[in-house]
Symmetry: C2
Subunit: 216 residues, 2 copies
């Protein structure tokens, strides 16, 4: 029980949606958290027992799975990609909704039937999730791991298909791509380190506060 709890949140757009829930759970970030040019990595909150770190989404999962952060918020896409046994995701926060899908150029999609695939080459940020998805339906997926800008891969001939997050579909459209297969619906989850959840009552209490906030 010694030490402050570390709560990890991802950089990027999800914060706006997450803040009301965090505040309802008593985790209101200190003002310096909102300073754009701050180089600080660790921030106080309205709960004297809780500090925040703000890191990349993939790293939220890694920090929490290893117990370096006890709790956090991260998309179900990232949870599925890592499949960490120590990462417990007790609450669907019902924010950050999108989907993870297979897309390909519109010209290709016009005559292509995903059910006929036996081997696909895919550019993606999610090689594990992609391989698992295709393996389950008997398709071998050769993945090229990219960290961003997946949507340019087909244009440059890196791969005909991509697996990426899709929200409005605008980015796909701008790049001449169409969604041909949905892999999963995605939303942000409250995550906790499994051991911390079992042994630190403060973690279990915060989980209940988030659950109440979501249901409110």
């Amino acid at each position: 029980m010694a030490g402050k709890l570390i709560f990890a949140i991802p950089k990027g757009r999800i914060l706006d949606e997450a803040l009301p829930l965090m505040r309802a759970a008593g985790i209101d970030p200190a003002p310096d958290f909102f300073h754009k040019n701050s180089r600080a990595l660790l921030f106080a909150t309205g709960d004297a027992d809780v500090q925040i770190i703000r890191v990349r989404a993939f790293d939220v999962a890694t920090f929490v799975a290893h117990g370096a952060a006890q709790m956090g918020i991260v998309g179900s896409d990232v949870i599925d990609e890592f499949d960490y046994s120590e990462l417990y995701a007790p609450v669907d926060l019902n924010i950050g909704h999108c989907r993870i899908s297979v897309a390909e150029p519109a010209e290709l999609a016009a005559t292509d039937d995903p059910r006929s695939w036996s081997h696909v080459r895919v550019a993606t940020k999610y090689p594990n999730l992609t391989r698992k998805h295709f393996a389950a339906r008997g398709v071998q997926a050769e993945c090229v791991k990219l960290n961003g800008a997946m949507e340019i891969a087909p244009l440059l001939g890196l791969s005909s298909r991509i697996v990426d997050l899709v929200s409005s579909g605008q980015t796909l459209k701008e790049n001449g791509l169409v969604e041909v297969e949905k892999i999963a619906e995605v939303s942000a989850r409250l995550v906790a380190n499994r051991a911390a959840f079992k042994t630190d009552a403060r973690v279990a209490a915060l989980v209940e506060k988030f659950r109440a906030a979501v249901n409110a």
Copy 2:
């Protein structure tokens, strides 16, 4: 020889130093490249034969190694991390100088001797490079891959040591860390897809232009 050449450059600070060399080689990005809010991924240049993509540093190496971009600029840290056989790095551009180093908390470093290590746990963006470095001197490195904010890992107990890029050392200092071992000097390199370099005379010609610009 069909089609335009794709030249990949990394997002981030290196661009300011790279631009004079690119311009000297005739690859002057079109004005929309400099629009901060542009969502475009592909840009024209002063050379009608060359288009630019701007992607993450790790992805520059991946695009060029797979021949989806024929050339690019990327740090030697990224080249070493991937060790792609198809990535040819003919010119040291003499920009983007820094080093990749092992760092640890100052309290630990006060009594620690890196020569005594037999096993280390390291948080890093460079797991392959790190394992290779330590293996060469008989040390087993257990790496936790992070995508950023490595310097917070020791504070949160994720790992005592980190392997990261060090420039001024200011970030380490702000986080109570000190450099205990330099792995390599880093600088930005001109890279080319090996097959494209051999088969497309335009690629070899651009390599010579960059070489001349660096020596000028």
